[in-house]
Symmetry: C2
Subunit: 130 residues, 2 copies
């Protein structure tokens, strides 16, 4: 892992995933499960929990970039646009800094919608396996 | 909701929740499911996914503090100590700032372990329902 390395991965935020996240977190806010409830709050249809989409940064870091043995030290998240059910997000992770002499990296973390809207942005700090 | 308001809530991070989070996120890193794998990475026993615990800040904001109709604009997270399976975390949310004239609040968000260790800290930015 070095500054400038980029990993992108597409993940579909399915209705099944939103059901699973609701069960896990006990967050069954109707804006995530019912189009009419979402419309009452100004959304065109039901939307994913922000943290449900953001959790995939964690999954990508743990499994792929940099992968097993890495330790997740921190994450910032800005939720700038809603993610809709069955939308395929493109997750983009880019190494932007390294702590001098240590395997500790800052990654720019972004998730884009199908129309290229930036939906979630922020930075992760991770310690890579040595 | 006003500056100084505090909400605390205890949530147990059970083995069942970690299984559910694994299924949802497709993150079955063995350090979360197998004590021996966790020990190989220097932990005394298996640990929860950091984002699995952090997701409960989202749940508390959506359901209780301030509750339905609120919009989650951002979250920062620092994972400073591992969360163990079946540990009961105390989530503490405190309103520390408000955007002048707007229902947009910054909350200090912390999760403490059973021994009062600070495990996760950061800030949330939310827009409360008006």
């Amino acid at each position: 892992m070095k500054i400038g390395d980029i990993h992108t991965e597409k993940i579909k935020i399915t209705a099944e995933k939103i059901q699973q996240f609701g069960t896990f977190s006990e967050d069954f806010n109707p804006i995530h499960f019912d189009d009419k409830a979402a419309q009452a709050h100004g959304f065109p249809r039901r939307i994913a929990h922000g943290m449900a989409s953001a959790a995939f940064f964690s999954k990508i870091i743990a499994q792929t970039f940099p992968g097993p043995g890495s330790v997740y030290l921190g994450q910032t998240l800005k939720f700038s646009a809603p993610v809709f059910i069955d939308e395929t997000l493109t997750f983009k992770l880019e190494v932007i800094a390294q702590k001098e002499g240590k395997p500790i990296f800052t990654l720019k973390t972004e998730a884009y919608g199908e129309d290229q809207t930036l939906k979630i942005s922020g930075e992760a700090v991770i310690k890579a396996a040595v």
